[in-house]
């Protein structure tokens, strides 16, 4: 029976209350997921659509954060879709799952309930071969149409396959080191199916893209409003285009200068993060997370260690990270956020016409933060800084910048002085300068107000996250909505703007820059106070090669680009396992592109690059 108070509305029950309600309403179709270390419910896929609507409308979980597939080969032999739904007012996740048999798996599409499921289901089809009846455009999204097999399935092996899990025996020490090319007849990272018939070989990858968009080769003749006969044209932007922020591609149809439809095409930087991640050990994956959103690597580390720490806490021996460790993590993440937003605003300005001049100004502060990262973590961009239950290293006493040897002089600062100067003078000054030049700038306002509008309801339904969501008037920031680390004791406001256009997103980013500085101001005294405290949970670097107990975990953080989540399944024995069974990244850059089509309709071609820039994507994360 429902445990919620009888007169309390259903939309504000606890998670347990909501689950009880679901089980009471659908006693046949809902059962608790009682596998060891798992939570949530398993839903009969025949009734998945009804139940999803009930979860959204009656229980109030209106925001579908993540939808991903898991292949349980050898552990039940089924495919499973895992959904994490949240309330846009805040709180924890309602996790529900639907299962299907491994051969010809079929699970009803949830696109009609949450539009945000669109790309994620296409990804599950592409990589796992799960069919989603009811999906409007179920085509491959990361690989090309015509690729053999669904590569994330556990029994699919890549050309350079060596063993199921790392460390490989061939690796030093003890093994014979070889180059993978030497073992492959073609000398390349390729393998062809037995039945390949070169005489019938057709490259269908391009025509499939156009077909899936309902575009023929012929241009259609349309009459515009004044009776002129015009042609509707298909325009490709990307994958090589200076404003796509990497190797992203958009296929637009235009009527004159006006965009009638837009479809993102991606996968040009799909570097198999998840497949490699499932071969890696847990620890191996930390440097790989750096390369997701390569502009804010610290934030990526943070989400991942949170997820694994959650799994570790299910085991017997686990200590929380120390306070100093958490403080340092938050500081690094906030510095990353500043770098991220400076790049985001700078690149966006590139896109709307202020070519590179603003970026050159923002890079000055970015370079100083890079110096700091280099001194602390050893690398400018790919910091590889966080560990399970700790950090790579504490702050050094002095910061010596090697980078500046280019100008024949090394910088040398006291760390705390350097940070204090950054936080109290330099960064605020940069933000002031930025605002002074841009916020009231007439050209900027003319270009961005009212362009690329996304309503609050759409933003939630399309699973938008980060500044894109908050720029549409939804005050949803995971640091407040579902606090982690020490954010609940820090004083800051959630930046939000109501207009939902490009300008609103810009304002949100500027506000968040200021809030980050505000957080950093509170971090510095905490750093002083915890001087000398260990950065490791039990005082020594203990969790370097953890054996992670059975179970699943979803760790999510508010990264610069939005909600970054890691869904991890550990399928170890009693003593735990060193390799994840499933390692999934809920990438904000990927899911934030879902509403790109509706945001661009009716705008001019020149605005499209601006709208894309205002979403702020990084391809390492979009394509993974």
């Amino acid at each position: 029976m429902p445990t919620a108070a009888p007169d309390a509305p259903l939309t504000s029950t606890t998670i347990e209350g909501a689950i009880d309600h679901l089980r009471a309403t659908y006693p046949e179709a809902v059962r608790a997921d009682d596998r060891e270390g798992y939570g949530g419910i398993i839903v009969d896929s025949a009734q998945l659509l009804d139940i999803a609507r009930f979860i959204r409308d009656d229980l109030g979980f209106d925001y579908l954060s993540s939808a991903t597939a898991v292949d349980y080969l050898g552990a039940g032999d089924h495919m499973e879709m895992v959904y994490h739904a949240y309330r846009s007012r805040g709180g924890g996740a309602l996790v529900f799952k639907a299962q299907a048999e491994r051969e010809q798996p079929e699970i009803p599409s949830l696109v009609s309930v949450w539009r945000g499921a669109d790309f994620q289901e296409r990804e599950a089809w592409d990589l796992y071969g799960i069919h989603f009846p009811g999906h409007p455009n179920l085509t491959r999204i990361l690989m090309w149409e015509g690729f053999h097999g669904h590569p994330m399935r556990k029994d699919w092996r890549e050309a350079y396959y060596e063993e199921e899990q790392k460390p490989f025996d061939s690796r030093w020490p003890g093994g014979h080191v070889h180059r993978a090319e030497e073992k492959n007849v073609f000398g390349k990272n390729v393998s062809y199916p037995r039945e390949i018939d070169l005489s019938r070989l057709m490259d269908t990858s391009e025509s499939a893209v156009y077909q899936s968009l309902g575009l023929g080769v012929d241009v259609e003749r349309v009459m515009d409003k004044d009776g002129f006969e015009t042609n509707e044209l298909v325009v490709n932007m990307g994958p090589h285009h200076p404003s796509t922020h990497g190797v992203f591609r958009m296929v637009l149809t235009v009527d004159g200068e006006t965009v009638t439809s837009l479809e993102p095409v991606m996968g040009y930087l799909h570097r198999n993060h998840e497949k490699i991640g499932e071969r890696n050990t847990y620890l191996h994956n930390i440097p790989f997370t750096d390369r997701l959103d390569y502009i804010s690597s610290m934030g990526n580390n943070h989400g991942y260690v949170l997820a694994v720490e959650h799994l570790l806490s299910l085991g017997r021996r686990y200590n929380e990270p120390t306070y100093r460790c958490e403080t340092l993590r938050v500081m690094m993440v906030e510095l990353s956020r500043i770098v991220n937003h400076l790049w985001a605003i700078g690149f966006w300005l590139n896109d709307i016409g202020a070519f590179f001049t603003p970026v050159l100004y923002f890079i000055q502060e970015r370079e100083r933060i890079m110096d700091f990262f280099e001194a602390v973590a050893g690398s400018r961009m790919m910091c590889n800084y966080m560990r399970f239950g700790g950090l790579f290293a504490d702050l050094p006493e002095r910061i010596k910048s090697v980078s500046n040897l280019v100008n024949d002089r090394a910088r040398d600062y006291n760390t705390m002085q350097f940070l204090t100067e950054m936080v109290s003078e330099r960064i605020p000054r940069t933000i002031d300068e930025l605002e002074q030049l841009l916020t009231q700038n007439e050209i900027l306002i003319e270009r961005s107000v009212g362009v690329g509008v996304l309503s609050a309801a759409d933003a939630i339904n399309y699973s938008a996250a980060g500044p894109l969501l908050r720029g549409s008037g939804v005050p949803y920031d995971i640091r407040r909505a579902d606090p982690y680390s020490i954010y609940d004791e820090l004083d800051f406001d959630v930046a939000v703007e109501d207009a939902g256009d490009m300008y609103a997103r810009y304002l949100v980013r500027v506000k968040e820059l200021r809030e980050s500085v505000r957080i950093l101001r509170q971090i510095l005294p905490r750093l002083e106070a915890t001087q000398g405290e260990s950065i490791w949970a039990d005082g020594k670097p203990g969790a370097y090669a953890p054996r992670v107990p059975l179970g699943e975990a979803y760790g999510r953080v508010e990264n610069g680009k939005g909600e970054l989540g890691y869904y991890i399944v550990s399928a170890g024995g009693k003593s735990g396992t060193a390799n994840p069974w499933r390692y999934h990244v809920r990438a904000p850059s990927f899911i934030n592109l879902t509403p790109m089509g509706i945001m661009s309709q009716g705008h001019k071609v020149a605005d499209i690059v601006g709208i894309l820039g205002s979403i702020d994507i990084v391809l390492g994360e979009t394509d993974r």
Partner: protein, 293 residues
Amino acid sequence: MDLNLQELNATEFPVPAELESNIAITSLSQLYNWGRRNSMWPMLFGLACCAIEMIATASSRFDFSRFGFEVMRATPRQADLMIVSGTVTKKMVVPIVRLYNQMPEPKYVLAMGACASGGGPFKEGYNVVSGMDKYLPVDVYVPGCPPTPQALLYGMIALQRKIDGQSIANGDDVPWYGVGSAEPTPVPVLGPDIIDPRQMDMIRRQAERAANDMAALGMRELPAAMQMVAAKAPTATAAPVEAAPVDGNALAFVLPAGGRPWEEAEDIREKRRLRALARKAVRASRRASAEEE
């Protein structure tokens, strides 16, 4: 870049000391290379993480314009240098080869970072090309993940040094000084997996064996393949691969008519390279003896 005539001067005839900063007697190659090395325009073309450091290298703190890499151009038609800045995926290598073919000669490729050089951390991935050199000739490799801006600058300066050593007097030094136009690099095809048109023969042979339930050829049984892989031994000794009959449909994927088979072209390239090295050695010894005098 200032014109330093003393540096450019390369002659056995002495130039009077008072005229040294006004007159230089030099070879056409040297003058030409001097002009070219100091106006290398990279293509504005970012792939992945390395692209961010590439932008940082172009920006105020490091500023590669100081070394003549003046400005990045978004179109391949105006670029001399392709900096492959990041992981090359199978899906992306098709447009990259097209872009390379669109660049006017002389053109250079710099593989920035571990991924572009050899696949890097993502090498084993099913959609990853393990190194740009599997498809395009790479001039300079810059290690790092990502390389620091200093490392990239160093690589770009290394490329300039490479250009210094090229000669227009000897037509076979680099392909574009030779006779006739160079052939475009064949564009890979996205089939069940990526297909390099230069390997069509081998793929066909493997497929035929698989169709007849024979085990795939190993490396030892495929001398030509082994040569391709090793790419170090001269291919002249390799047993020629018998060209299988070609269906009409597949014609689009074999080399254009009149084009040299890949091995032969590679052989010529290798010979050119050896000759260039020999000439370079002669030049160096001449310079050394001139200095002694």
